[in-house]
C-alpha cells in the first residue's frame, strides 16, 4: 500500500509539473509548484516508512516549512511587481 | 694603486650623476647650472685621462657592484676600447655643454635644466656601457641611455617632436627587447657566462646555427648601431635640438651602439669564431648595402640635419663592417672610426646648429653664399667633412685607411669597392655644402647677401666649441698615436 501511495504521489507530482509547464498564467505555475511541494512532503514521509527510516519525517517537516516560505516569497514578489507595473514608470 | 684605479672607474659613473643632481638643484641659476656641467666635464675628462694611462700600462682592474641575478653581476673592468669610448664621451661632453650654452640660450629653448640633467645622466650611462665587464651590465646602461635620451629627443614637445620621440623610443627599445635581450639570455644559456673575454666565450661544441642566430639577434638587436632596416630612429630624432643631435650622433647613442657591436664581436664571439660563421658574410653584405643606400639617400636630402643623419647611418655601417670583417686591421679601423666619426660628425652638427641659430636656415639650398657671413663655421664644416670622407689632413683618413686594409686582409674585394664608392658619395653629399657657401651666389643672386641680412657667426661659446672639435679633427690626423695605441691594444 505504501508503494502504491508513493507511486500515486509521484503521479500527482508529474501532473503538477505538467500544469506548471502548461501554465498558462504565472499563478497557475505557482499553484502547481505549491502542489508539487506539498506532495513532496507527503512523499518523503511515505518513502520514510517504505524504507523503514521514519527519521525522514524530520526532513518532511523541514521541507514543508521551506515550501511554504518559498511560495509566499514568490507570491509577494509577483504581487508587488504586478502592482508596480500598473503604476507609473519609476 | 689598484684601489685608486677602481676609485677612478667609480668616479666615471658618479661624476655625471652628481652633475645631474647638481643641475637639477640649481635649475633656477643658469650660470651656476652650466658651470656645474662644465666643471664635471673637465673633471671627468681628467679622470678618464688618468684611466687611459693606467690601461696603457696594462692595468685591467675590475670591480663588481652587485649580483643582480644568480651568477650574473653588474661588474666593470678597465679595458682599452671602453677607455676609448670614455675619452670621446667625456671630452665631447664638455665641448657640447659649451656649445649648448650658446645654442640653447640663443634659441630660447625651454626646459633647459631638464636638458642638462638628462645629458649628464646619458654621459653616466655611457660610462656604464664603456666600462661594462659583461653583457648584462652593458644592456642595463644601454637601456638607461635610451630612456634618458628620449625626453631630449621629444624636448620641443611639438607634435613632430612627439612623433620623432615615439619612433626613437619604439625602435631602440623594441630592438633591444625583442632581439638584444633574447640574444643575451640565449648567450647565457649557451655559454653559461656573459663576461667579456678576449677570443670570445663560446665553446667549440656549440652549433653554428645557434651561433648564427645569436649573431643576427645581436646585430639587429643593437639598434643604436642603426643597421638597416632599423635605422629609422636616427632621421626621426632630427627634431631634437642640435646639441641633442650631437649627443645622439657623436657623443653617446650611436657610439654606444657600434661600441656594443664591437664588444660583442670581439669579446663574446671572438674574431676567429666570427670569421667562420657563414651568416657573417651575409651580414657583411647587408651592412655594405646599408652603407651605400644611406649615402644615396643622404644625397637626396635638402635638410642639412637630415643629410647628416643619413650620413651617420652610412658611417656607422663602416664601423659595423669593420667588426664583421673579423680581421685585426678591420677592428682597428672600426675602433678608430668610432673616435674619428665622433669628432667629425659633432663638428658638422655644431655647424648645422650654428647656422640655424644665426641664420634660421635649415635647408641646404638656402645656404649658398653663407660662407661670407659665417666663415669660421663654414671652414669648420669643410674640415669636418674631410674627416668624415677620410681625406687628409683630417683624422678620418686613418680610420678609413685601416678599414680598407681590413677588407683586403679578408679578401673582400667587393666590399673594398663598396667602401671606395661610398667615399666618393661622401664627397658628393658633404663637400658641396661648404664650397657653395663660399663660392656660390645665394638665392637673391648676390654673393655675400648674408652679411647684408645681418647674419653673423653663432654665439661665442658655440663658436668656441666648433673650433675645439675642428682642431681635434686636424690634431687626430697629425697625432693619431695615442688613439692608435689604444685601439691596437684591443682584443
Amino acid at each position: 500500500m505504501l508503494a502504491a501511495a508513493a507511486v500515486a504521489l509521484l503521479v500527482v507530482m508529474v501532473m503538477a509539473l505538467v500544469r506548471a509547464m502548461l501554465g498558462p498564467t504565472i499563478y497557475d505555475r505557482i499553484l502547481a509548484v505549491n502542489v508539487f511541494g506539498t506532495k513532496t512532503v507527503l512523499l518523503i514521509a511515505v518513502v520514510g516508512f517504505l524504507f523503514g527510516r521514519p527519521d525522514f519525517l524530520d526532513i518532511a517537516l523541514v521541507y514543508a516549512l521551506i515550501n511554504f516560505i518559498s511560495v509566499i516569497g514568490v507570491l509577494r514578489y509577483f504581487e508587488y511587481s504586478g502592482s508596480r507595473q500598473k503604476g507609473a514608470k519609476p | 694603486m689598484n684601489f685608486s684605479v677602481i676609485g677612478l672607474m667609480q668616479a666615471v659613473l658618479v661624476i655625471p650623476l652628481l652633475a645631474a643632481a647638481g643641475v637639477a638643484l640649481t635649475g633656477l641659476r643658469p650660470n651656476l647650472r652650466e658651470g656645474i656641467s662644465l666643471v664635471s666635464g673637465a673633471l671627468l675628462f681628467a679622470v678618464v685621462w688618468s684611466l687611459y694611462q693606467s690601461v696603457m700600462a696594462g692595468d685591467r682592474s675590475g670591480w663588481t657592484l652587485l649580483e643582480l641575478l644568480p651568477g650574473l653581476t653588474i661588474s666593470f673592468r678597465l679595458e682599452p676600447l671602453g677607455i676609448l669610448f670614455c675619452l670621446i664621451a667625456s671630452s665631447l661632453w664638455m665641448v657640447t655643454v659649451l656649445y649648448s650654452i650658446g645654442y640653447m640660450r640663443g634659441h630660447g629653448e625651454s626646459n633647459q635644466t631638464r636638458f642638462y640633467a638628462l645629458f649628464a645622466i646619458a654621459i653616466a650611462s655611457v660610462g656604464g656601457i664603456a666600462l661594462a665587464d659583461n653583457l648584462l651590465t652593458l644592456f642595463i646602461f644601454y637601456e638607461v641611455l635610451t630612456l634618458s635620451t628620449y625626453p631630449l629627443v621629444t624636448h620641443a614637445g611639438t607634435d613632430k617632436a612627439r612623433r620623432g620621440g615615439r619612433t626613437y623610443l619604439g625602435l631602440l627599445l623594441g630592438t633591444s627587447i625583442v632581439c638584444f635581450l633574447p640574444a643575451i639570455i640565449g648567450t647565457w644559456v649557451v655559454a653559461g657566462t656573459l663576461t667579456f673575454k678576449e677570443g670570445g666565450i663560446f665553446g667549440d661544441d656549440i652549433t653554428p646555427v645557434l651561433l648564427s642566430l645569436l649573431l643576427v639577434l645581436f646585430v639587429f638587436g643593437i639598434g643604436k648601431a642603426a643597421v638597416m632596416p632599423f635605422h629609422r630612429w636616427l632621421p626621426a630624432a632630427m627634431v631634437a635640438p642640435t646639441p641633442v643631435s650631437a649627443l645622439l650622433h657623436a657623443v653617446a647613442v650611436v657610439k654606444a651602439g657600434v661600441f656594443a657591436l664591437v664588444k660583442v664581436g670581439v669579446f663574446i664571439f671572438g674574431l676567429d669564431t666570427l670569421g667562420t660563421l657563414a651568416v657573417t658574410e651575409w651580414l657583411l653584405y647587408l651592412v655594405a648595402f646599408g652603407v651605400l643606400a644611406a649615402s644615396l639617400v643622404a644625397m637626396r636630402q635638402n635638410n642639412l640635419k637630415a643629410r647628416l643623419a643619413y650620413s651617420t647611418i652610412s658611417q656607422l655601417g663602416y664601423i659595423s663592417l669593420g667588426v664583421l670583417l673579423a680581421t685585426s686591421a678591420g677592428l682597428l679601423g672600426s675602433a678608430l672610426h668610432i673616435a674619428m666619426h665622433a669628432f667629425g660628425k659633432i663638428t658638422l652638427f655644431f655647424c648645422a646648429g650654428a647656422i640655424l641659430v644665426a641664420s634660421h636656415k635649415s635647408e641646404i639650398s638656402d645656404m649658398r653664399g653663407l660662407g661670407r657671413a659665417m666663415p669660421l663655421t663654414m671652414a669648420a664644416f669643410f674640415i669636418a667633412s674631410l674627416s668624415i670622407i677620410g681625406l687628409p689632413p683630417a683624422g678620418g683618413s686613418w680610420s678609413k685607411w685601416y678599414l680598407i686594409l681590413g677588407t683586403l686582409e679578408a679578401g673582400q674585394w667587393l666590399l673594398m669597392g663598396v667602401l671606395m664608392l661610398s667615399s666618393l658619395l661622401n664627397i658628393a653629399y658633404l663637400l658641396p655644402i661648404p664650397l657653395k657657401a663660399f663660392f656660390a651666389t645665394d638665392s637673391t643672386g648676390s654673393v655675400g647677401a648674408g652679411e647684408a641680412a645681418g647674419i653673423r657667426e653663432a654665439p661665442l661659446t658655440s663658436l668656441l666649441a666648433i673650433m675645439i672639435t675642428t682642431l681635434m679633427c686636424l690634431l687626430l690626423f697629425f697625432y693619431p698615436q695615442p688613439l692608435y695605441d689604444l685601439a691596437r691594444s684591443i682584443g
Binding site: - | G157, R162, G170, I177, L181, I185, G186
Partner: protein
C-alpha cells in the same frame, strides 16, 4: 601562540570583519581594519621566517589529524604568497584612510571595511589551507566579498560589472566544485597532500583527467585567462580605485597560486604532462592573451581599463611560465606573480591618487600631469617601466626568467613572442607618459581640485604608493630574496633536487 600562527593568519581577519561591523564610526572602523591587516602582515612575515627555519608548517584544525580534520599547511610557496597578499592588503588599506573618502560615503565605510577584511580572510584562507574543499569555501568567501567591493564603485556600471563577475565567478567556482567532487569520488580524500599520493595510484585515469580539466577551467575563469577574461576589465574599471589596486595585486595572484598548487602539488607535473596537451594549450592561450589584451589596452582611454587589460596580458605571461612545465618556467611565473603584484599595486594606487585629485581616470586627466602631480606620475612611470620589463625594476627579473625558461626549453620563437609582447606594453605605457609630460596642442589642462599648493596627492596615498615603488626598484636590484625563494619553491614543486 606561535604554533597557532597558520590558523591565526586566517582567523584574525575573519573575526575582525564582524567585529568591525560593531564600530559605527568610519575612522574607527578604518583604524581597526588597518590594525587587523597589519597583524596579518606580521603573522605572514613570521610564518615565512618559520618556514625558512623549520620547513613546511602543518596545523591540524581543532586537533583532528589530516584525513578527517581540516589541515592548514604552510610551505614556502604558501608563505610567500601570504606575505604578498597581506602586505598589499595592508598598504592598500593604509591608503584607504584618505583615499576612499570621495568614492564611498562616510556611513557606508564600516561595512566596506568589513567586506574588505572578509575578502582578505578568504584570500589568505585559500593559500593557507591544505584541504581542497576548504579552498573552495575560502574562494567563495573572497569572491562574494569581491563582488560586494566592486559594487561599491560610484559609477552605476559598477553594479553591472559586479553582477557579471558574480555570474562568471560562480560558474568558475562551480567548476572547481565539480573537479573537487571527482577527486573525492576517485580518492576518498580532500586533503591535498593525500590527493597527491593517491592520484598517481589511481586506476581510473580518465576520472582524474576530468577532475583536472574542471579544476583548471574553473581556476582559469577566476584568474581571467584569455579567453575567460571578459569579466575583468569592467570589474577593475568601475570598482573603487583602491579596491582595484587591491584586487589587481592579490585576487588574480591567488588564483594563479591555486593553479600552481593544483597543477604541481596535487596532480604533479608528471601526471599532467603524460597525456594532456595542456602545456601547449597554456602557452598558446597565454601568448594570445598577452597579445590580444595588450593590443586592446593600447586603445583604451580609461586608464583603469587600460591597466586592467594590461593585467590580463601579464596573467598571460604567468600562464606561459606554467606552460613550460619546467622549474625555471614555474620560477618565472612565481617571480612574475610576486612582481606583478608590486607593479600593479603601485600603478593602481597611483591611479587612485589621480582619481582622488582629478575625479577621473580618463587619459584626458593625464594631460600635463607630470608637472601637476610629479610624484604620482613618477610612480606611474616607474611602474610602467617595470611592466615593460626594464632592467633595475622587478619586471626585468621576471621577464628574464620567462625568456630563460623559453630558451632552455628550446622554444626560441616563444621567447621572441614573449618579448614582442613587451613592446606592446611600451606602446600603452608610453601613451600615458607622453600625455603626462609632453601634452599636445593648446587644449587646456584638466582642472585640479584643491589649491595649487596641494596639487600633488595627499601623503596618505603617496606614501603607500611609493613604498611599493621603492620595493619595486629595490627588489629589481637586490633579487636574492625573490629569486632565491621562487627558485626553491619551483624546484620543490617539480621535485627537482629532492
Amino acid at each position: 601562540m606561535l604554533t597557532h600562527l597558520p590558523v591565526l593568519q586566517v582567523v584574525v581577519p575573519l573575526l575582525a570583519a564582524p567585529a568591525c561591523l560593531l564600530l559605527d564610526r568610519a575612522r574607527l572602523a578604518w583604524l581597526f581594519a588597518l590594525m587587523a591587516t597589519t597583524i596579518s602582515l606580521v603573522i605572514s612575515a613570521l610564518l615565512l621566517y618559520q618556514v625558512n627555519q623549520h620547513g613546511t608548517l602543518v596545523y591540524a584544525l581543532g586537533g583532528w589529524d589530516a584525513p578527517w580534520g581540516i589541515e592548514y599547511r604552510i610551505d614556502l610557496l604558501a608563505a610567500y604568497v601570504l606575505l604578498v597578499v597581506s602586505g598589499i592588503a595592508t598598504l592598500v588599506i593604509a591608503a584607504m584612510g584618505q583615499g576612499i573618502a570621495l568614492e564611498i560615503p562616510q556611513e557606508r565605510q564600516p561595512v566596506f571595511y568589513v567586506i574588505y577584511l572578509l575578502c582578505l580572510a578568504g584570500l589568505l584562507g585559500i593559500v593557507a589551507t591544505g584541504d581542497i574543499f576548504n579552498v573552495f569555501v575560502f574562494l567563495e568567501i573572497s569572491s562574494l566579498a569581491t563582488y560586494a567591493l566592486i559594487a561599491h564603485g560610484q559609477d552605476r556600471r559598477a553594479l553591472w560589472a559586479s553582477y557579471q563577475y558574480l555570474i562568471v565567478g560562480t560558474i568558475g567556482a562551480t567548476f572547481i566544485l565539480i573537479g573537487i567532487g571527482f577527486l573525492y569520488s576517485l580518492t576518498g580524500t580532500l586533503n591535498m597532500q593525500d590527493l597527491a599520493q593517491r592520484i598517481p595510484e589511481t586506476d581510473s585515469v580518465r576520472t582524474a583527467y576530468t577532475a583536472f580539466a574542471f579544476l583548471v577551467v574553473g581556476i582559469c575563469l577566476k584568474l581571467a585567462l584569455f579567453p575567460l577574461h571578459l569579466w575583468l576589465p569592467n570589474a577593475y574599471a568601475y570598482a573603487p580605485s583602491l579596491v582595484t589596486a587591491f584586487l589587481a595585486a592579490t585576487a588574480t595572484k591567488v588564483a594563479v597560486y591555486l593553479l600552481i598548487r593544483v597543477h604541481f602539488s596535487v596532480f604533479g607535473e608528471h601526471f599532467v604532462s603524460s597525456v594532456l596537451p595542456l602545456h601547449n594549450i597554456l602557452i598558446t592561450l597565454g601568448l594570445i592573451g598577452v597579445f590580444v589584451a595588450s593590443l586592446v589596452a593600447i586603445f583604451q582611454t580609461n586608464i583603469k581599463r587600460l591597466f586592467a587589460y594590461s593585467s590580463i596580458a601579464q596573467i598571460g605571461y604567468m600562464i606561459v611560465g606554467i606552460g613550460f612545465g619546467t622549474a625555471v618556467g614555474v620560477q618565472a611565473t612565481l617571480l612574475h606573480l610576486f612582481n606583478h603584484a608590486l607593479m600593479k599595486g603601485a600603478l593602481f594606487m597611483a591611479l587612485a591618487a589621480v582619481v582622488y585629485r582629478l575625479g577621473s581616470a580618463d587619459i584626458s586627466a593625464f594631460r600635463g600631469l607630470g608637472r601637476q602631480m610629479p610624484w604620482t606620475m613618477a610612480a606611474i612611470v616607474i611602474g610602467g617601466l617595470s611592466l615593460i620589463g626594464m632592467p633595475l625594476t622587478v619586471g626585468f627579473v621576471s621577464k628574464w626568467y620567462l625568456v630563460l625558461a623559453a630558451i632552455e626549453a628550446d622554444m626560441w620563437p616563444i621567447a621572441l613572442l614573449i618579448l614582442a609582447g613587451s613592446i606592446l606594453a611600451v606602446v600603452y605605457v608610453w601613451r600615458l607618459v607622453e600625455t603626462a609630460y609632453f601634452p599636445s596642442g593648446d587644449e587646456p589642462m584638466p582642472e585640479v581640485q584643491g589649491t595649487v599648493a596641494s596639487r600633488e596627492a595627499p601623503l596618505a596615498l603617496l606614501i603607500p604608493t611609493w613604498l611599493l615603488v621603492v620595493v619595486n626598484i629595490y627588489l629589481g636590484i637586490d633579487t636574492r630574496l625573490t629569486v632565491g625563494t621562487s627558485g626553491a619553491v619551483a624546484s620543490a614543486l617539480l621535485g627537482v633536487g629532492q
